[in-house]
Amino acid sequence: MTVNIKRIPKKKFLMPGNAACPGCPETMGMRYLKMALGDNFVMVIPAGCSSVIQGIAPRSGIYAPILNIVFAAGASAAAGMKAGFESIGRKDVEVVVWAGDGGTGDIGFQALSGAAERDDDILYICVDNEAYMNTGIQRSSLTPYGAWTTTTWTGKREHKKNIPLIMIAHGVKYVATASVGYPTDFIAKVKKASQIRGFKYIHLLAPCPVGWRFDPALTGEIGQLAVKTGLFPLYEYENGKFQLSPLARRYKDPSNRVPVVEYLKLQGRYKHLINKPEEIKKIEEYIESIWYMIDVLEKAFNPKEEARKLLGSL
């Protein structure tokens, strides 16, 4: 599915004058969500920047009906809403969870795992800015190795938890990764997901100028660099089939990748390690491990039947 920018209708997709910081990746993502889904959807938003971005009642800066919900209950409230709509004969309303990395991988993980296992017919989008931004940049389990946060002053010692992989392990209908650096890719994935019945998960990388300490003009570019350095591969897993997204395929070959320092040096959160080769090496090794895993996934969930047979015969 390709998206032609020119064909996107000339209308509003977000209410300006909201509370997001300048250069916010979350509002970028919300615009793309509405571009993909049109008007027939509701959002469920657990605590996080997106709760605040809406601004002050009785107005709301996000152009969608929203059920704001307690931090841990994104997936469960959405599952209930969907069942509620269905039970009164409204099967067509799309229910979308829009949750941060903390609301997804930490406090909300239990509810997420439950909804995924039940195959509830919702679209869950994790807006991953790699920390608890709303409470002032504390580490989450999705903060990457080495990153400064206000609870990891000398850099986080653990690697990022791989939530999309865990969602694939749930055997859900659809899992995809996306980046606000590549809007049309994300829009296409949302559109595709909305046509699937059952549980859908999209992991949207959302570089945050405030928490990652970069110039707000660079949100899109850093979102692209994360992909080009090989740190954040874009892919889709659909009904047991795994494939790299076309624009990310070339980064499978390490020689096509942009050196990761080019990504790190733009961000203040990595300032303390930019001159430490052993730290850079750790991050490079992480990239290798990610691509090793991609290789395994491609083989395990290959659209071509031979690979599946091969695995079956092992």
Binding site: A57, I66, S87, R90, A111, G114
Partner: protein, 404 residues
């Protein structure tokens, strides 16, 4: 109308079915579990046309039914003890958003240590949250209250969620004959679901983004106003239910032999039955005592209690829950209600973790209280009726432990 022998938990399930609930979600916990088991069976057999969401926790159970209710569905959940505490955050969220919803709470002690027997610590822990809170005495009332809960919660004067308490094991797992009203009659009495808003594409409603402090303040004020309005609605519903289905309970409180009483027992839940037996015995000896059974803890029946108790010589409150560092929870409610009156007042904490008290002990406590009061007005906020195993070895007032 059919009479069936039902446990309290099955009585809940039948009421949920009669209310034609659209969405059910719950998580197993003793002694609530058989409610969801029964509802699952009804749904799978096609007797109840509802969606069942088999969640992974109580936090999710309440969030799920709340989500369904926000979308316009009539929804129900049930829990107990630790399950209710685990939900606590969502309990407040649901009330604050003014979405009608019904939950059964099978009352049970809170650990540690693990204990599955009745007391009221769990349900009374929720009393500041903005839910209407009622507690039944017996299985028939469990069915009737659960059914009424939908009508009360969905009344446009109220628009607050409601929980119905029933005592663990004593009601939940004990059978009694229960009249099950006819579906047609229920359909003509219970209107289609009403709610103040739905969150849907066409409504463009956003629930819960930050509001100015002044508006947040006024939302609390309006919840308080709706609680006041609910008092009237509860009385109305109780009365019309009596006219249609033949059973009324007195609304916010039930009075038992109150008319000429001088002394009163205030009590809530299944052991009110024991208190009534004790009063029957005392009445045979011409002792003027009656029972005021609290049916609704929220809204608190202040006016009604003042009306009933203003001529009293003494009021003895039995509490199955204590606010640590203070008194029994009903006691503090009763005491603040009776503050302007010069009445002998005593609070007894008893029956925690299902420890049995029984009619004869209640009778003895009433006699003791009357004797103390006749000797001169008393004010005794907390005494504990210790389990027989420990009685005599420890003082009945925790204060005296320190004095020693």
């Amino acid at each position: 109308m059919v009479v069936k022998t039902l446990t309290g938990n099955y009585a809940v399930a039948y009421a949920v079915k009669l209310a034609r609930v659209n969405v059910v979600s719950a998580y197993p916990i003793t002694p609530q579990t058989t409610i969801v088991e029964k509802l699952s069976e009804m749904i799978e057999k096609g007797e109840l046309n509802a969606r069942m969401i088999r969640v992974e926790s109580e936090h999710s159970a309440l969030a799920a039914v709340y989500g369904a209710a926000s979308a316009g569905a009539r929804a129900f959940t049930a829990t107990s003890s630790h399950g209710l505490l685990y939900m606590h955050e969502v309990v407040w969220w649901a009330a604050g958003s003014r979405i009608p919803l019904v939950m059964a709470v099978v009352t049970r002690a809170i650990g540690p240590p693990w204990n599955i027997h009745v007391d009221h610590q769990d349900i009374l822990d929720q009393r500041d949250s903005g839910w209407i809170i009622a507690v039944a005495q017996e299985n028939q009332e469990v069915l009737d209250l659960t059914l009424q809960a939908f009508k009360i919660s969905e009344d446009p004067r109220v628009y607050l969620p409601m929980m119905v308490g029933l005592d663990g094991f004593i009601l939940s797992h004990t059978t009694a004959p229960v009249d099950i009203p006819d579906q047609e009659l229920v359909d003509s009495w219970l209107p289609p679901r009403r709610q103040p808003y739905i969150i849907a594409p066409e409504s463009e409603v956003v629930m819960g983004n930050i509001a100015p402090d002044e508006d947040h303040f006024m939302m609390r004020y309006s919840m308080a106003a709706s609680m006041e309005a609910a008092k009237k609605v509860i009385e109305e519903v109780d009365k019309e239910y009596g006219e249609i289905f033949g059973r009324s309970y007195g609304g916010l409180v039930e009075c038992y032999k109150c008319e000429d009483a001088e002394y009163f027992v205030v009590i809530m839940g299944s052991w009110a039955g024991d208190a009534k037996k004790a009063v029957d015995t005392l009445r045979e000896q011409n002792i003027p005592v009656g029972v005021v059974r609290i049916r609704f803890v929220r809204p608190w029946p202040r006016e009604k209690l003042l009306e009933i108790l203003s001529g009293a010589k003494g009021v003895l409150v039995f509490d199955r829950a204590v606010s640590m560092g203070s008194t029994g929870i009903l006691f503090s409610e009763v005491a603040q209600t009776l503050y302007p009156l010069n009445i002998s007042l005593k609070g007894l904490v008893a029956g925690l973790a299902g420890v049995d008290v029984g009619p004869s002990r209640i009778e003895a406590e009433i006699l003791k209280f009357i004797k103390q009061a006749e000797e001169g007005a008393i004010y005794t906020p907390t005494e504990w009726i210790l389990p027989e195993k420990y009685a005599g070895r420890y003082p009945s007032s925790p204060k005296e432990v320190i004095a020693k």
